[in-house]
Subunit: 449 residues, 2 copies
């Protein structure tokens, strides 16, 4: 029986980061990472295997990220735990001192009749499965995507670039329905429509038709759409099966119960990433946001804190900072949307700014940038930011995460010292971060003579 | 005699921003901006009139920025002040309640023999002068630039794009000598050398030769370089002549004395922008950094606080956040360089990371990104960031400004929730902001068993 100081189960972003961080913090401890997959995928790259990447192999996280730390990488499946010993499918038994569960999430297969026909796929983080999805898409013409969240929209964009006929069906009345305000979903729709996509919003797929193989999709309004391939991307749920088998407290929709430091009820077991419960940054309620970046922040924290708490958690709760690119337009969001602010009954102000991200705007590479900020009306702190524009959105969104986490106010932002450059950013006088804050200030400010 | 509640003298970024902010905060006050120039230039765009812009007119700040607020724009020169009345060159007299001086800075003409010959130019913020510089460059072949700071380097890049033979002479032994560490200056040099520029570093221009018109430049080592045009960009000094004439306390090198809220010794007179004294964010000593973005932060603050202090100054001292682009590589810096940290006798650690700003790095638009961070070794706060990479540097540098201003520590950054996307940013596992912080942590962290 082999014994490790630290065993991490799961080879996704959370698991890998946790190993690296554990090795950095405790260089003399022995570490193993156990995963079932031969090859570990980079989750956010998956939609891009359809067109931008030349193969699924280009979307693989290299094993050396783990093995370079000196950790053992074990391809096997954990089937049982007894005390502090794990029994693997191969028969091997591995003992641990500290255990980290990072079993990720599973794509939801909704109860649609015919969803198991040939040509119907979910978005599974599995190399062979995705290789098949990619090949199947190459030879298909009419592709129906079910679900208009990020993955569905990114898939649509990629498949359009491949020259496919793409129809996207979304139950709610807009794209990116849970993560961005409607004007952003509308913008994404407009971009993809211009490239030929068809959208059926506010509609549900009732059944998938065809003999063995899909030939069409039937909506709840009885409309039928020809399809030789269907991709379902309607979200994921935490993979809690193993943790549940270990006797840990789990909630099937919200994940493995963990405290502030991602520790489970068992003091030697931690859970990180999509499988671990998360709390919303603003409400403290359970959050269903699953992001590699959140998973990795958790992996780093737990990796450092395994044997004693070394890193105080400065920020708790999931902010939900993410970005994507649809056509040539980048989208980003961090923190509260207006939609969520309403839902939470927040008293808020909105600040907006539209600009061009070069100055003067005639310079090459210039894109229109639209920014929408949400502030707490009376406490003035920034709660959220949404934007679309050029590629600079990729880092602009992170700048807002830093501002939100630091509870900066509209006045603090008005005070900011920012750098701008003609070839890289908006004119300082049109800098949208400042101007949208000033716009919000104008909403509550009353001039008294 | 006309009377205004607020008079701003100077039409650059500080002055314009101050008018906008004053109007937003005090919509019922009457405001005038007085400037001598017929047309107001955008200072950071000046180097780009050489190639990227089609004319000097593309680099003009539109007057409607001022007039749209309802403020009067007066093209005239203030020649005298008596009590709270300004006498203009035209003979008009204007009374004010609050006065804001935003007279900017003047390019330094070093005492080089022959510097007044035809074909020798400084970088003056003047429409007619720059139109002449642009035309003169178009018909010149061998151009010598004196000074290797941002403007000199940007000019060199632009003139190379115009197909000119460019030689740059810098007194110190590196490019960007006062604002970035030597590895960044070296990188800029390497990029421009590959495009054909010649650099003479650690050398001084002794005299400019030719009859009326420049024909060559003589260095202190007696080497002679053929030149039909010379551009001098060796810095600027605050334009304090008017303030001095008004009896305000000024220092010829450091500017008009102002307190924390940019107020001069006269309680009804403020000074903002390049002409106002600035203090270093870290040392509290005088700072010579002159940036439009700093000037505008000051303009906003004073505009809001003219009649009572409404906006608490959250951050004092000049951070010096800026970015530029040389060839296809963007450079950015915010806060302390290692060079300055040494000079200040700071006990610091350096964290570095190199990555590719797309993931996987085979995706289109990917650029190598190098990041260097400076932390206080014992108090752990981030003090500075320097980087080069793709265009995302333009906003990445501002994210660091926000971190520095919020006194975030290496551990705070390790805790950050950041969004990344394949088409927009580095892989979350290679995200340089986190990885450079972890690198710094490794420098002080001692593992104890």
């Amino acid at each position: 029986m082999k014994k490790y100081d630290v065993v991490v189960i799961g080879g996704g972003p959370a698991g890998i980061t946790c190993v690296i961080s554990a090795h950095n913090t405790y260089p003399q401890k022995s570490i193993a990472l156990i995963r079932t997959e031969e090859k570990a995928l980079v989750p956010c790259g998956i939609p891009y295997i359809m067109h931008s990447l030349n193969s699924v192999d280009e979307d693989i996280a290299p094993d050396k990220l783990v093995t370079n730390t000196g950790a053992d990488l074990i391809i096997d499946e954990v089937v049982e735990k007894e005390e502090k010993k794990l029994k693997l499918k191969s028969g091997e038994v591995i003992a641990y001192d500290k255990l980290v569960i990072a079993t990720g999430s599973l794509s939801i297969l909704p109860p649609i009749q015919g969803a198991r026909k040939e040509g119907v796929f979910i978005v599974r983080k599995d190399y062979d499965y995705l290789t098949n999805v990619r090949e199947y898409a190459k030879k298909s013409s009419n592709i129906v995507i079910i679900g208009g969240g990020y993955i569905g929209v990114e898939m649509a964009d990629e498949l359009l670039k491949e020259g496919k006929t793409v129809t996207l069906v979304e139950m709610l009345d807009r794209l990116l329905p849970t993560t961005m305000d409607h004007e952003f979903g509308n913008k994404a729709k407009e971009i993809l429509e211009a490239k030929g996509a068809k959208f059926l919003l506010g509609q549900r797929v009732d059944s998938i038709l065809g003999n063995n193989k899909v030939t069409s999709v039937m909506l709840n309004n009885k409309a039928e759409i020809a399809a030789d391939m269907v991709i379902i991307s309607v979200g994921a749920r935490p993979n809690v099966t193993m943790a549940s088998g270990f006797g840990l407290a789990v909630h099937p929709r919200n994940g493995i119960w963990v405290n502030e430091y991602l520790r489970t009820f068992d003091k030697d077991i931690f859970a990180i990433g999509d499988c671990a419960a998360k709390y919303d940054f603003f409400s403290g309620e359970f959050s269903n946001v699953m992001l590699a970046s959140t998973a990795m922040a958790e992996g780093r924290l737990v990796g450092s804190n395994l044997f004693s708490i070394k890193v105080m958690r400065r920020f708790t709760g999931v902010l939900g900072s993410f970005s994507t690119k649809i056509g040539d337009t980048a989208f980003g969001t961090s923190g509260l949307t207006e939609m969520k602010a309403k839902e939470m009954n927040m008293d808020y102000t909105v600040g907006e700014a539209t600009t061009v991200d070069r100055h003067p705007g005639t310079l090459p590479g210039a894109s229109k940038l639209y920014l929408k900020l949400i502030f707490s009306r009376y406490s003035h702190t920034i709660l959220g930011a949404q934007m679309y524009g050029g590629d600079s959105v990729g880092e602009l969104v992170n700048m807002f995460s830093v501002m939100i986490l630091n509870k900066m106010t509209d006045m603090d932002i008005d005070n900011l010292q920012i750098g701008t450059h003609p070839l890289l950013s908006a004119s300082p006088i049109a800098y949208p971060v400042i101007n949208a804050s000033v716009d919000a200030i104008k909403k509550w400010y009353k001039y008294e003579t």
